[in-house]
C-alpha cells in the first residue's frame, strides 16, 4: 500500500473503507505535534502522553463523523485541545491549578531533551526557564497562548474551541504574553537562542 504521498483526507477514506493500517499512518504523522500541543497545555509529560493517546482513540471512534469540511490536522488538534481542557477541568476539581515548580520526576522525554548534545548548557537553562514560565501561567492563559503559538489558530478558532468571546481571547493572550515577558526577563532570557 502506497501511503507516503497520500493526503490525510485520502488516508481517512481508506480507513473508513476498511484499511486496518490506514489510521496507523495518521497516528505516525501527527503524534509528535499532538504530544507537543498537549505538553504545552498540560505541562506534564505523563498527562500529555495520556491526552495524546485519548486523542487518537477518540478520533478513531468518531472517524465516521469526519465530514471532510476541515483538514484532518485541524480536526485532530481540536480533539486534542478538548481532551486537554477536559483534563484541566478535572485537575481544577482536584485542586491542581498550578504547575509552577512542577518536577518532572522520571520524565524520560524531558531528560532526553535536556541531555541532547545539540542543546548547549545555556539552551538547556532557557528551555527550562520557558517551560517553567509557561507552566506558571493559569490554565486558561496557558491554553490560549499554546493554541496560538503552537497551532497558529486564529482568535476566532480559539474562541470557538473554548466557548468564550473573541475579546476574551485577545485579553487572555495579552495577559499571558505580559506574564511570560516578566518571568523570562526575571530568568535573564532575552531572546530566542534555545
Amino acid at each position: 500500500m502506497e501511503i507516503a504521498g497520500t493526503s490525510d483526507e485520502q488516508i481517512v477514506e481508506r480507513a473508513l473503507a476498511g484499511d486496518g493500517d490506514a489510521f496507523g499512518e495518521i497516528v505516525r504523522r501527527w503524534e509528535r505535534r499532538i504530544f507537543a500541543l498537549a505538553y504545552g497545555i498540560l505541562g506534564r509529560e505523563e498527562d500529555a502522553r495520556d491526552a495524546t493517546q485519548e486523542t487518537f482513540i477518540a478520533a478513531f471512534r468518531n472517524l465516521k463523523g469526519f465530514r471532510g469540511d476541515a483538514k484532518v490536522s485541524s480536526w485532530l488538534h481540536r480533539i486534542a485541545v478538548n481532551q486537554c481542557i477536559t483534563r484541566q477541568r478535572r485537575a481544577r476539581v482536584r485542586g491542581e491549578t498550578s504547575l509552577e515548580g512542577a518536577e518532572e520526576d522520571g520524565a524520560q522525554f524531558v531528560s532526553e531533551l535536556e541531555a541532547s548534545p545539540a542543546v548547549s548548557a545555556e539552551g538547556r537553562e532557557q528551555t527550562e526557564a520557558v517551560r517553567r514560565a509557561v507552566n506558571a501561567l493559569p490554565p486558561e492563559l496557558r491554553s490560549v497562548v499554546v493554541m496560538k503559538e503552537f497551532e497558529d489558530l486564529t482568535f476566532q478558532e480559539i474562541a470557538d474551541t473554548l466557548g468564550v468571546p473573541l475579546s476574551t481571547v485577545k485579553s487572555r493572550l495579552y495577559t499571558a504574553l505580559k506574564q511570560l515577558r516578566l518571568r523570562l526577563e526575571k530568568h535573564g532570557v532575552q531572546a530566542a537562542r534555545v
Binding site: A15, L16, A17, G18, D19, G20, D21, A22, F23, G24, V27, R28, E31, R32, I34, F35, A36, Y39, G40, R49, T52, Q53, F56, I57, F60, R61, N62, L63, K64, R90, V93, R94, F109, L113, V119, Q126, V130, R131, V134, P138, E140, V145, K148, E149, F150, F155, K170, S171, Y174, T175, L177, K178, Q179, R181, L184, E185, Q190, A191, R193, V194
Partner: protein, 260 residues
C-alpha cells in the same frame, strides 16, 4: 480574574496582540501603526512580546524534535470498526464515564467508595480463606468462615455424630431405640403381672389368718392380741415382698444406657 482584564497604559492591549499576530483589518492596522509611532510604551511592549514569541517558538521546536511516540497498540483495533466500543450519549465508554464520575466527585465519595470496596474484599478473602470442603462417610460437606452452617449433598445418606469424629449411622440408632422401647414394654407387662400376683397372695393370706374379723367390729380401745400382732406383722412382710419385686426390676435409664 483581574489580570486578564489588565491592559497596557494606553488601554490598547487587545489591539496590540491583534497587530502582533496579524489579525487586524487594514483600517485598524493603519490606525495602530500611527499610534505606535507616537507611543514608546506600546512600541517597547510590542518588541518584548515578539521576543517572547520567538522564545516560545524555539521551545516548541525542541519539543517537536524530542517528542516521544505514543503507543496506541491494543487500543485501536486493526480492522476499522468505529464505535465498536460501547459508549454513552457523550461518546464515553462505561469505564471512562466511571472515571469521570469519581474525578468530579468530592473526596468523601471517593474515599468512602474505596473503604467500602476494601471491606467487601476483606470479607470475601475471609470467606475464601476459611472455606472447607470435607468428605465423611460418603457425603460432601462445605462450609465457609462467615457461615458456619454445613451444606451437605442431599443425595447421600445423612449422618449424626455423637462425638466429634465419631459418626454413627442414623438407621442403627433408630433400631436400637425401637429395641429399647420393646424391652421396656415387656418389662412393664411383667411388672404388672407380678404386682397383681403379689396383691392376690396378700389378700389370700389375710383371709386365711383372720377368719373371724368379718363377724363384728373390733373395739377401738382394746389391746391387740398376740395373734393379731402376728397377723399384722405378716401383712407387712407380704407388702414388703411385693415392694421388693418392683425393686428387683431393671430401671428404664439402665436399659437405655445399656442399649447404647
Amino acid at each position: 480574574m483581574n489580570k486578564i482584564q489588565e491592559m497596557n497604559d494606553c488601554g490598547r492591549g487587545e489591539q496590540l496582540v491583534a497587530y502582533l499576530y496579524g489579525e487586524t483589518g487594514p483600517d485598524e492596522r493603519a490606525g495602530f501603526e500611527r499610534h505606535l509611532s507616537a507611543c514608546a510604551a506600546c512600541h517597547d511592549e510590542l518588541t518584548a512580546f515578539g521576543q517572547v514569541r520567538e522564545t516560545v517558538g524555539a521551545w516548541r521546536a525542541e519539543l517537536l524534535t524530542h517528542a516521544p511516540t505514543v503507543t496506541t497498540a491494543g487500543m485501536i483495533p486493526a480492522a476499522t470498526a468505529p464505535r465498536a466500543t460501547r459508549t454513552d450519549s457523550h461518546g464515553r465508554t462505561s469505564w471512562g464515564a466511571l472515571r469521570e464520575f469519581f474525578a468530579l466527585s468530592p473526596a468523601w465519595v471517593r474515599y468512602g467508595s474505596v473503604a467500602a470496596a476494601l471491606v467487601v474484599c476483606a470479607l470475601a478473602a475471609l470467606a475464601v480463606a476459611n472455606a472447607q470442603v470435607r468428605y465423611e462417610n460418603g457425603s460432601f460437606a462445605f462450609s465457609t468462615g462467615l457461615a458456619r452452617e454445613t451444606v451437605k449433598s442431599p443425595s447421600v445418606p445423612q449422618t449424626l455424630s455423637a462425638n466429634a469424629g465419631d459418626a454413627v449411622p442414623l438407621d442403627q440408632l433408630v433400631a436400637e431405640r425401637d429395641a429399647a422401647v420393646r424391652e421396656l414394654q415387656e418389662t412393664r407387662a411383667q411388672l404388672d403381672d407380678s404386682r397383681a400376683a403379689n396383691i392376690e397372695a396378700v389378700y389370700h393370706e389375710i383371709d386365711d389368718t383372720q377368719p373371724n374379723d368379718a363377724g363384728g367390729p373390733s373395739a377401738p380401745n382394746v389391746e391387740p392380741t398376740t395373734r393379731q400382732r402376728r397377723s399384722t406383722g405378716t401383712q407387712r412382710k407380704s407388702a414388703r415382698r411385693a415392694t421388693q419385686g418392683e425393686d428387683d426390676l431393671p430401671r428404664l435409664i439402665d436399659l437405655l444406657s445399656s442399649g447404647n
